[in-house]
Chain length 415, copies 2
Amino acid sequence: MTVELISVGTEILMGSIVNTNAAFLSAGCASIGLSIYNQQVVGDNPDRLSDAINLALGRADTVIITGGLGPTEDDITMQTAASVMGKGLVEDAHTREHIGNVLKNSIYKDNITDNNWKQAMVPEGAIVIDNRNGTAPGIIMERGDKALILIPGPPNELEVMFRKDIKPYLMARNPKAIFSRTIKLCGIGESQAETKIIDLIDAQDNPTVATYAKTGEVQIRITASADTEDAAKELVKPVAKEIKSRFREDVYTVDADCNLEDVVVEMLDKKGLKIVTAESCTGGLLAGRLVNVSGASEVFSQGFVTYSNKAKRKALSVDKAILKKYGAVSKETAKEMAKGAILASDAEVGVSVTGVAGPEPSEGKPVGLVYIGCYYRDKVTVKEFMFRGNRQKIREQAVVMALDMVRRRIIEDDK
Amino acid sequence: MTVELISVGTEILMGSIVNTNAAFLSAGCASIGLSIYNQQVVGDNPDRLSDAINLALGRADTVIITGGLGPTEDDITMQTAASVMGKGLVEDAHTREHIGNVLKNSIYKDNITDNNWKQAMVPEGAIVIDNRNGTAPGIIMERGDKALILIPGPPNELEVMFRKDIKPYLMARNPKAIFSRTIKLCGIGESQAETKIIDLIDAQDNPTVATYAKTGEVQIRITASADTEDAAKELVKPVAKEIKSRFREDVYTVDADCNLEDVVVEMLDKKGLKIVTAESCTGGLLAGRLVNVSGASEVFSQGFVTYSNKAKRKALSVDKAILKKYGAVSKETAKEMAKGAILASDAEVGVSVTGVAGPEPSEGKPVGLVYIGCYYRDKVTVKEFMFRGNRQKIREQAVVMALDMVRRRIIEDDK
């Protein structure tokens, strides 16, 4: 079954708001195996919205429209959708009562204007869905095997309505089950990753295999459809196994909800290890990323941001002679920083980052040159990286590679 | 002149990523007075992309396509766009050289695969734009009075290319001159800000006035169109003056390219002051944000990430008795942290953050409660905040408010 989304709202077309509703609904549909091939955004304009609905209904089984269901003059979604479906609007007594109840408990109770009752007008014959967090109802209109669904735009109204009412409705309508698995890799480029599995990508039919690039990471998604979820899972399984065997330690997780920092924190936690960070060019972003994980306090108590040479000397006891001889951006300084952080804290794993984030070269060293050190079990390993991109991008890549280095070091030690 | 956007990417249709590029480009077009009436999202599928391009070119003067310009098999935007325009692909020698240069300086230098060179293939006769932050070039194809523009999807590549190359191109094609000015505010909510200038928003015609909310910030954009840029500027000027006088110190800049951290770093630099950070719940994000500014080393040498109580005691000399009596999330601890950071560094301004980022309450204190301390000239001021949102959002708001507190403290001291 295919679904299309239409988002209605001039504020999206003006770039005033990001269309997070589309991402929420798309992910929700994908999670129950519905394919979305097209999304559209239009403003609060009846002609353009009619065109968009007709186009979408011509292509997809189900069309979901969000936004433009408010009480004001420029909210034209209900009227327009009804007229595309050849229906008039009639007052829904239950919705009118619901609106009355909501308003009399609201801050607007002394200013209930006539246009509020407009939201009780629904297409004749439609399925009407109560709005748990507002006044505008949700609407489902069916015509043959097609369905047109209207959901109010405010995210807190939309999300709960999708979860509780629309999703079950869609699942009941969908004859096919879908299963997809995401394999997340780190420390390998997208084209290099693709080259390794090009035969699987080319052979794809069911399941399909696709790669996606994130900063410093690659994700591979395997998706199969079948009559039952179990059957779809069975189709995905051998392909996932083959891909994992080709990438081995480049794979950091097969859990779609899990990030690199989650994996690192979990690994440390399992081994009862604490980590300490010593950052120069990343300036706190590595520590900040570890603290993204809500259980981070189990493994992270302290971090050092030593941007100047003086701070490196004072907080991390980096030898003045080493800074002078090799410079702040050097293998030797990265080594000293990781060791110094260990000495100044109660952690067992120390990770250090020093580099040139730009925009100008520093100490005669090029923009993008970064050294990452990792201290664990009396041994410091340092890797040299040459990242490309702007200041922000270089720092983000350095953070990812630092996390990855810790991950690989612990795996290696386990062998 | 009307513009349409087409975003290409299965990951958008799957809801794996939010389409922030569309919001960025829409806002960018709006800022130069271009109208967008439709946006589309399609997957990496040649037929559906062809249909989307033909539909958009039928409606708009200019069509911008983003995404699907990577080196892999499923990146089909270049080939598809060229064939819609009736063009073949030819190798662009300059782009091939650029790709070679980028790759030989990258971490993938030992694994350059053949598919990388695919990105040097461009439509014959097209304007080719160098990618400052990557390998995929931007493309402009003109046909009569229509233009089809391709921009790579990674936000850091897209944003700089739009600003430096595409925006000037669009402005040159647009017969009307547009001038817009952005006033950036901090420490005030969007609805509160809107209420203060609702008369100006309602009266809008030319210039128009619009507010946009960012995390912890509000931006007000005033846009005028006229026959010349100077004439448009003159229309904007009195409105900008009026708005600035209404918000006074809430305004942190009127420079659209300037961020809050830029302002703070510049203020400190002008006064020859150094700043030190002491972070608990923000875990390094505040320091990381200061280091976003490329001249940060002039004012920032060191930061402390003290996540555990032990680290607060050890690195910042926070009194054990205070931690015991008031807890880590308290006015008193925030005060001690800011003072301790000053004592442990050579900075004159100390800023501390301690709070409950969630998802669980801590020490019996609610999620969202954050204390921010600011030490300057022998005085520590502490403010209590109650932020809403998830863990990430709470931490981001805390970082913004910490920067704003430093900014206001210095302004106050100047009086």
